[in-house]
Amino acid sequence: MTLLAAASIATGVMMLVAAVAALVVKKLISAIIIVGFVSLSASILFLLMDAPDVAITEASIGAAISTVIFLWGKGKIGGEE
């Protein structure tokens, strides 16, 4: 259980730092990739919470497909903020 606590705290801190970074980083494309990373870490947390179904769904949909959707939007708008 100590190992689980360490893993969840490490993943959680990483996710929170990445979430703030996704909102303040300059380049939009970096922000999109960082949000994909947050989704992937969330699927690790789902696995720690004994929810393998949700973890597999989050990994395939949240991390892959929504990243593609945002990349399309960035390609259509272009430029940075």
Binding site: P52, D53, I56, S60, I61, I65, V68, I69, G75, K76
Partner: protein, 229 residues
Amino acid sequence: MIRTIVGLIIVLALSVVVISSVPDYSLPSGLQGVGQDYTERGVNDTGSVNLVTAVVVAYRGLDTLGEVVVLFSASTAVVLVLTLVPMGANPTPSSSIVAFTSGVLPGSIVLFGIYIITHGHLSPGGGFPGGAVVASAFLLVMLGSNKIPGKSKLLASIESLAGVTFGLLGFWGMMMFGQFLNNMVLPAGSPGKLFSAGIIPLISLVIGAKVASELSGVFSSYRKAGGDE
């Protein structure tokens, strides 16, 4: 700057409210109510080993039908908006290595997706993740090929057929037992086998086809509107 600070203040106030609304910091001791009920009688009721799939497809199957309708309307809105406002497509051609690999790989990816869909009542998985995996194979085909997809009647017909089949499977239970989506129209079989759990594998297949065709429709309309620049 002032906007950032005001936003920070709002968020901090909200966090204080949420934290103070948690009454006591102790671990819950056990399940109550409907969750306890599902874990106790889920396998006997439905014959599905994976209880999450049992809840999604059998106990809350009507909610899943509503969810599929939400997904359908969202994807229809995307396709409609992108059809009404053409943006001009200029895809960059892909090199021959990428084109070859994107022709080889999708077969195994689709096979994996179908495995996830059909084993949803035995292991983690089911219609939603399997459909997403199949849609990602479709995405790979589209990104690799140099053609812009034309009007595909096939996607729309798969989508409509899956929706109609979902409804018909539900009405089958209504005619036999007077209950929408009753699971007992097919024998429950022995839990843990591939052909078991009543109509749960069929409904999983329908949900997988629906999710895959709708996400593929979204990708295909994105591709038609351009965007690889």
